[in-house]
Amino acid sequence: MSTKRLIGIFAIGAATVAVIAIAGLVFSTMGTFLVKGLPNITWQLLSEAPRNNNTEGGIFPAIYGTTLLVLVMSILGVPIGTITAIYLNEYTRAGAVMPRVIRFAVNTLAGVPSIVFGLFGLGFFVQFLGVGLDKTFGNTEAIWAKPALLWASATLAALTLPVVIVSVEEALKNVPQEMREGSLALGATRWQTIWKIVLPNSTTGILTGSILAIGRSAGEVAPILFTGVVYSLPQLPDGISSQFMHLGYHLFVLSTQSPDVDKTLPLQYATTLVLLMLTFTLNFAATFIRSRIRSKQFR
């Protein structure tokens, strides 16, 4: 047998082992949580609040809080990310200084550990913006100068900005240059061209960006730790200045802060499964939409 053949066989073997290892990891993780979590997912779990020091009852406030959090995050982050992507892709020429600085900043942002975002959120949003807002409105007690849903959402928006920018830029690049020229040649201004031609053809990309951002951030705990999440709440948040419960943080609380950790095990499995399903569904949706954009529209 020649050496070339041997190397070939070895490479295929190594690849097979790698694939099996990864697939095994995914399936055993998912499988464990499916088997142990699924039986514990009941209507009670999904609809009720935790009782008796989180050892009984459901996780509804955590689901509610997580949903609200990512919703407000999208409202804050997607427009900013989209505008940044439009600026980078439509208004700057390649190689100019400004876009390079911004791109460098975006890449750096993508590499910052999420706990650092949490500290940034506490320092900038809560203690700087929050205190400033309270002073401006002359509030005697702290309304904004405390951890809140708004600040946690803003921190997550900052964390996911790179994801949104990259997805939207990709969608903008997908719009053929001829389409822009066709519009400009008809006497459309640059902004009219963006608004009427480029953006309508990028909505799927913007949607993908938002879903990816949500998928990425739904399970993040570190950024919201100092900026809004709480251990337990007697009632649901009633506004963006309220604090909230969160699935990821609730899992941490269940598994480390409970008086009886073993008793909460079924709840932990169920909570994990709900969180996993949420992020997986969102990621699958994003992948599906993305593959649809690639295949349709422009020949």
């Binding site: 389409m179 066709g182 008809l186 006497g187 459309a188």
Partner: protein, 256 residues
């Protein structure tokens, strides 16, 4: 032979275009006449498209492009700082080599330009769309499916749709950048017929690689080579008795 009285519509005066350090057009001076079809011919990279795209200032989109000299339309220097490029492009329509319908309905494609100009009245838009499609010899083929996507049209229909879209804003000049290079012979014939029809209303400048096409549709022909305007004359003269050796070599197919 009776001589038709022609008026100058577009006048270039020592026009030079640079892309970065590279000079793409060298001191072009030419008069293009109103309601005539002028063809630009020449080998690839000779500057004919560059010149065409400087007439509606599409070259402005190229970051490194720089223009010197003057280009007048109806006596107005379009490179003067007081000229509004957006207004200019409404008066100088353009049809591209690759047909570029927007991924919208046929109706919305044609109505795109008029809507930019603030026309929202439905009956007015209906009238413009119908008229433009008739002018582009497309109306009969699409009248029953104005609301379906323009992406479903054939290549030839798409190109005529782009012509309809361009005439919908009522320009006085139509620039065509190799409008038939991606079309089959039947579609090409239709577009050529259309060009002859359109010249009654519009001043048309067409870039083409097809000598027969230039001979068929144009009254005047300009031959460009290496960024220079080599020869400009009546089409018949250019093709039967050119004054320059390079022109003769090109039109007889000895190079290019």
């Amino acid at each position: 032979m009776s001589k038709k009285i022609t008026e100058t519509k577009i006048e270039a005066n020592d026009l030079c275009v640079y892309y970065g350090a590279k000079q793409a057009l060298h001191r072009i001076s030419i008069d293009l006449f109103e309601r005539e079809v002028t063809a630009f011919i020449g080998p690839s990279g000779c500057g004919k498209s560059t010149f065409l795209r400087s007439i509606n200032r599409m070259n402005d989109l190229v970051p490194t492009a720089r223009v010197t000299g003057n280009l007048y339309i109806d006596g107005v220097d379009i490179y003067h700082s007081s000229v509004d490029v957006v207004e200019l492009r409404k008066r100088v329509g353009m049809v591209f080599q690759k047909s570029t319908p927007f991924p919208k309905s046929i109706y919305d494609n044609v109505a795109f330009g008029p809507r930019l100009n603030g026309i929202t009245d439905r009956t007015e838009l209906d009238r413009i769309v119908e008229e433009s499609l008739i002018n582009a010899a497309l109306f009969d083929e699409v009248k029953d499916r104005l609301d379906s996507s323009a992406m479903g049209l054939s290549g030839g229909q798409q190109q005529r749709l782009c012509i309809a879209r361009a005439v919908a804003v009522n320009p006085s000049i139509l620039l065509m950048d190799e409008p038939c290079s991606a079309l089959d012979p039947i579609s090409t014939a239709k577009v050529e017929e259309l060009i002859l029809e359109l010249k009654k209303q519009y001043t048309i400048v067409i870039v083409t690689h097809n000598m027969q096409q230039a001979a068929r549709v144009s009254e005047y022909t300009a031959f460009f080579y290496m960024g220079h305007l080599v020869e400009y004359d009546k089409t018949r003269k250019i093709f039967t008795n050119p004054s320059k050796k390079e022109t003769e070599d090109y039109v007889t197919g000895r190079f290019g």
